[in-house]
């Protein structure tokens, strides 16, 4: 198994792995803050139009959103177990678990796409394009504007996460990670968990009344 390269600024691999992981956590924190403006806008518009929001949520596609929640939670478990398997020295199991995660992530996007089609048919589009006559209120307009932007940004993150997982699978196939040193694998799956966490919060905000 090839040893990972040690950068000359580090004294040993442990320091390098630690720095990489800490860097990833700082990056994740920064990534969460990308969503902060949207959460803040959601809170503001919801307190501006509380009743309209309640109503809009009740008309939202709960089944799709909930199915996606269970899917992402399960995929998160698979991603975590992929690292666990690598720690146990079972890279083939890691590969299988990563593949399962990817399949679930793709499933998420498919369900999301179907859900978007429903909204497009209803006319529940963002901002000035909104024309759902069943819910003609300002608040419903705000809700669906934010719905599109928030889930859209999240879907972008899912896509990015899938790319990361695909890349990790390639690395695992090449045997780049070992029992002791698999910081890259750990970091890549962290990103996927973040995607999961964001959905854990989007789900109650967008689907639960």
């Amino acid at each position: 198994m090839p040893k990972p390269l040690l950068g000359e600024q580090y004294s040993d691999l442990e320091q390098q792995d630690g720095a990489l992981q800490f860097g990833m956590w700082v990056f994740l924190g920064s990534e969460l803050l990308l969503f902060s403006a949207l959460f803040a806008l959601y809170a503001s518009y919801r307190s501006m139009y509380p009743a309209d929001f309640e109503q809009a949520i009740r008309h939202n596609t709960l089944v799709y959103g909930t199915a996606n929640l269970y899917l992402l939670l399960t995929s998160s478990l698979c991603a975590a177990l992929a690292v666990w398997a690598m720690r146990r020295g079972r890279p083939r199991l890691t590969l299988g678990l990563l593949a399962t995660t990817i399949v679930m992530g793709l499933g998420f996007l498919v369900i999301k796409g179907a859900e978007y089609l429903v909204h497009i048919r209803e006319g529940a589009l963002p901002g000035r394009y909104y024309h759902w006559h069943e819910l003609p209120s300002f608040g419903a307009n705000r809700f669906y504007s934010l719905y599109w932007v928030m889930t859209g940004l999240h879907a972008l993150h899912v896509t990015a996460g899938l790319c990361v997982l695909g890349w990790l699978s390639l690395r695992v196939m090449k045997g780049a990670y070992s029992v002791e040193h698999h910081a890259g694998l750990e970091m890549g799956t962290l990103y996927w968990h973040l995607v999961d966490i964001v959905w854990i919060f989007l789900w109650p905000l967008l689907y639960l009344s």
């Binding site: 580090y10 800490f22 902060s36 901002g127 300002f138």
Partner: protein, 552 residues
């Protein structure tokens, strides 16, 4: 490298005798693809100085136009575009990256005894992302004729006929560069400190870069989102902030200033860090209180996040929020005052030497205190109603950004010039330059306080004739300032070629970066130094400090 100075101590064992970072390899590609933080810093240096020149050129064009109440050299549309160009270039292409990417990049690893930043490739990527962002931003502004000002306030940004999306994309890219730079510094300062360096003897400049990096990482994503939403509104016509479909434009201002107010501290904190290094060195004395400077640095970084609403007093925010923001804004003044008093106390009984960096410190001290005090004034709601969106505010923030940040940048450029390039600059020309910068600056912006108080609104193309003499004065000052900057930078350029060779520690400082040779070797130190003493401990002689650093 020969060294003629008699007081030269023998070269540090920890410095080794490797070739310096400028010479260990040569060729264009050894620069373009380098991962050495020092070379990347030099590339950033060239880039941000070019941006300063560009932004300065736009400023001079604006000031020339304002010489007469009517048309002088350009029409109103061009004027509107030009002040947007000036603002965006100066804020995102010069001030935000300036000190962190140049001096932070060069010095933070050396000050903590590391061989490089934690992620050298990321550092290089950050540089190219910056270049790409700069190209897209400037190209977008010039081709698209953006005229919203650097704040992109909706509803105007929603409706402007000019093209906005390329500029927003460009600034978004610059934001990625900022985040990567900040992340790199945070991880480096946490994980790569040499043995002996703790949070209690970390050099003050490194502390300020650390605080700045926290802001970069925490605030920049919010800017990215704010620009993204404005882009969706302008590009796709979504109307996320459009009242006609239930939106609220004030919410955009909240999100925008959540980044852009802390951004002021991204600009000023590094300058304060530079000053905190220069004052002990040229007073030959430890800071009156190391802890006071550290605590106020961190406090400014955090309180800076709680004051953004003072930009919105007249935008229609609630009285409760306005009161809250007004009160918290005062805390920034308190912590800044702690710094100012600590610097002044450090001078007391020090053996002060008046070199160019020290002269810039005095300019900084005066301009920053002046700018800060007017900041307290405009953060007072009742006064802000009168001064909001006038030249008073313009003068106030230029006192902080130019008087504070740019002066800090020049101070750093002179102070660390011997370390970075291994040569000495001409002291007399340097001092003339510093004095001229101060005079030029003061003549430019002092009249603007008066203009603002008389009611001259910012960003206006024309004005009543009785304001003209103040505008003429301000324009004259701008040209003095422009020439002074050329002199100050030209002096360094000349020294780059003709300067005397610098010794390792020409200022007899105890700070860690002066332990290694000037310019430093590729790995900064021959062997990892042992830095268990204070970088401001002037009770140690230079030899004792060196011996301690070399001890195992």
């Amino acid at each position: 490298m020969t060294n003629p100075a008699p007081e030269t101590a023998p070269v540090l064992p920890i410095a080794g005798d490797q070739p310096d970072y400028l010479h260990w390899t040569s060729g264009v590609s050894s620069w373009l693809f380098t991962r050495d933080h020092k070379r990347i810093a030099i590339m950033f240096y060239v880039a941000v100085i070019s941006m300063l020149g560009l932004g300065g050129f736009f400023a001079l064009a604006l000031r020339t136009e304002l010489l007469t109440p009517g048309r002088t050299i350009m029409d109103a549309t061009t004027y509107n575009r030009l002040f947007t160009l000036h603002g965006v270039t100066m804020v995102w292409l010069f001030l935000i990256p300036s000190i962190p990417t140049v001096f932070g990049n060069f010095l933070v690893p050396i000050q903590i005894g590391a061989r490089d930043l934690a992620f050298p490739r990321l550092n290089l990527a950050s540089f190219y992302i910056y270049l790409l962002g700069a190209l897209v931003t400037i190209g977008g502004m010039v081709a698209g004729g953006t005229d919203t000002g650097w704040t992109f306030y909706t509803p105007y940004s929603d409706q402007t006929p000019t093209r906005l999306v390329p500029v927003l994309v460009g600034i978004f890219i610059l934001g990625i560069s900022s985040i990567l730079t900040g992340l790199n510094f945070i991880v480096t300062i946490h994980r790569l400190r040499a043995p002996g360096i703790t949070w209690r003897n970390l050099p003050l400049f490194t502390w300020s870069i650390y605080a700045t990096s926290l802001i970069l990482v925490l605030a920049t994503p919010v800017l990215g989102m704010a620009l993204g939403l404005i882009g969706l509104d302008h590009g796709l016509g979504l109307g996320l902030f459009d009242p006609a479909v239930g939106g609220d434009p004030v919410l955009f201002q909240h999100i925008f200033w959540f980044y852009s107010h802390p951004a002021v501290y991204i600009m000023i904190l590094p300058a304060m860090g530079v000053i905190s290094e220069i004052v002990p060195t040229f007073s030959h004395r430890r800071p009156a209180s190391y802890m006071a400077i550290v605590v106020s640095t961190i406090a400014i970084a955090f309180v800076g996040f709680l004051t953004w609403g003072h930009h919105m007093f007249v935008a229609g925010i609630s009285e409760l929020d306005a009161g809250f923001f007004g009160a918290l804004s005062m805390f920034v003044a308190v912590f800044s005052a702690i710094k100012v008093f600590t610097w002044v106390m450090t001078l007391r009984r020090g053996s002060i030497r008046f070199n160019t960096p020290m002269l810039y410190f005095f300019a900084f001290l005066f301009l920053f205190v002046f700018g800060g005090m007017t900041g307290v004034a405009v953060a007072t709601q009742s006064l802000d109603v009168h001064w909001h969106d006038t030249y008073f505010v313009v003068a106030h923030f230029h006192f902080i950004m130019v008087g504070g940040s740019l002066t800090g940048f020049l101070a750093a450029a002179y102070y660390w010039f011997p370390k970075m390039f291994g040569r000495m600059y001409d002291e007399r020309v340097g001092m003339v330059g510093a004095a001229a910068v101060f005079v030029g600056f003061f003549v430019t912006f002092m009249p603007q306080f008066l203009l603002g108080n008389m009611g001259m609104p910012r960003r206006y193309y024309s004005y009543p004739a009785h304001f003209q003499w103040l505008h003429v004065l301000s324009t004259a000052g701008a040209f003095i300032l422009g020439s002074a900057l050329l002199l100050a930078l030209g002096n360094l350029l000349v020294a780059l070629v003709n300067g005397k060779r610098a010794i390792a520690n020409p200022w007899h400082s105890r700070s860690f970066e002066w332990l290694t040779t000037s310019p430093p070797p590729k790995n900064n130190f021959g062997a990892t130094p042992n830095l268990s003493y204070s970088p401001y401990d002037y009770s140690l002689t230079e030899e004792q400090a060196r011996a301690q650093a070399s001890s195992r």
